[in-house]
């Protein structure tokens, strides 16, 4: 496997805010999740009710603190037992650390900020989160206030560059051929795009009348303060997508750069929405399980087709032959051109 120096990916990771979790995914002390990006890892950890983000390296000798992608455990290093708990490091034989400023020990942390109940992290943000999100912020807030938790976690390496995987997620032109038995069954109509800075949203009516009627009926089981009664796909520049059909659940996806050539750290999660008061979650258990399975199938189908597209086909310039269904892809490339121009003007270390 070859090493890839992805200057654009590194710059975007460092300089932007990234949606990493919903508050209700990590409700209890010790809850954590881990994402891999480039040659780093980011852990979000519930530390006595505070969600903190750090690099998953023990500050002592650099061992990974968390070895799983998600779960609940103490933030204890398995090497020498250093433990982070409620804002403090508990260090075995602390008195033996005489020749160093042991009181200043800390993780390498990421800055955090909130859009509603969605947690964002950034290393060195080029702008405040509210400016980065622009007009998509109210939409994210509306969605976030309904989310009750996470139903599914799906993570693996796409065998393609992150830009290839992301652009596939930005255009519905491929859906009839690549997803005939899954996403294609919705018969999504052309709909319309909205652009908010570098972010974008696609709203598409469900053309399959039976599915649309059924989803409308199923919606009655849920207590939704916000709902788009169709298919909605939100792109949060640079690496994140959120999609939903009728707002009954939300699929949160990340297409994160890898340090290996032609690889993407892909993550998808299904976020659940509330039922009306007193209704047993078992009522919709099979529906959620089926939705999660369908989502996984859609991503596998995407992965299979993305493997066919080598990175050397990608350029920040618009495709020579572009459908109007590829408008969001063209917008993404324009955003990348802007970023690359700024990198060239200021040097990559913006």
């Amino acid at each position: 496997m070859s090493f890839a120096f992805d200057a654009l990916g590194q710059h975007l990771w460092r300089s932007h805010w990234h949606l990493v979790a919903h508050r209700n995914e990590l409700p209890s002390h010790g809850d954590f999740l881990r994402l891999k990006v480039l040659d780093q890892e980011v852990v979000v950890f519930n530390d006595g009710g505070d969600l903190v983000a750090f690099d998953n390296r023990c500050p002592h000798r650099g061992a990974r603190m968390f070895l799983a992608d998600h779960g609940r455990q103490a933030a204890t290093c398995g090497y020498h037992g250093w433990t982070y708990n409620r804002g403090e490091f508990l260090i075995p034989e602390r008195e033996r650390f005489k020749s160093c400023q042991i009181d200043k020990v800390d993780f390498r942390r990421w800055q955090t900020d909130w859009a509603g109940d969605f947690l964002f992290v950034s290393d060195r943000p080029a702008q405040p989160l509210v400016e980065q999100l622009g007009g998509v912020l109210p939409l994210l807030e509306d969605i976030s206030f309904g989310v009750t938790g996470r139903h599914d976690w799906n993570a693996y390496a796409f065998e393609c560059d992150w830009k290839i995987a992301l652009e596939n997620a930005l255009e519905p032109y491929h859906v009839p051929l690549v997803h005939p038995g899954s996403l294609g069954l919705l018969d999504l109509q052309a709909g319309h795009n909205e652009f908010h800075g570098r972010n974008s949203v696609w709203y598409a009516p469900v053309g399959n009348a039976r599915v649309a009627r059924s989803l409308a009926r199923v919606s009655e089981l849920f207590a939704l303060d916000f709902q788009y009664a169709g298919y909605m796909s939100i792109y949060i520049y640079p690496f994140t997508m959120i999609s939903s059909t009728h707002g009954l659940s939300y699929s949160l996806q990340h297409f994160l750069p890898s340090s290996q050539a032609e690889r993407t750290h892909f993550y998808s999660r299904m976020l659940t929405m509330p039922l009306h008061s007193g209704r047993d979650p078992a009522v919709v258990a099979s529906f959620l399980a089926s939705t999660a399975a369908t989502n996984r199938r859609v991503f596998e189908e995407d992965h299979e087709v993305c493997k066919r597209v080598p990175l050397d086909t990608w350029s920040p310039q618009p495709p020579a032959f572009a459908s109007d269904a590829e408008e969001k892809l063209i917008h993404f490339r324009a955003s990348c051109r802007d970023v690359q121009a700024a990198m060239a003007h200021h040097g990559t270390d913006l």
């Binding site: 039976r210 199923v218 089981l221 209704r279 047993d280 099979s286 529906f287 089926s290």
Partner: protein, 74 residues
Amino acid sequence: MQEFYEGLAEILEIPAQDVHSGLDLTSHTWDSLAIVSTIALCDDCFKVMLSSQDLMKCQTVADIEGLVSLKRAA
């Protein structure tokens, strides 16, 4: 019962007159969306909340009606 049969016909995409107690659900589109739609339908028509696991085991319309009767009796 007519409202329930009409709703079930819409969910299964068949004419309402074809819905009867002996109708074999498994010979129609009895998928997760149909099941959760039927949960909502039963809530509308009978004010009972069935579980998706119980509905998945139903083979006929009579099986659904049996579940509704059990819930109402409980």
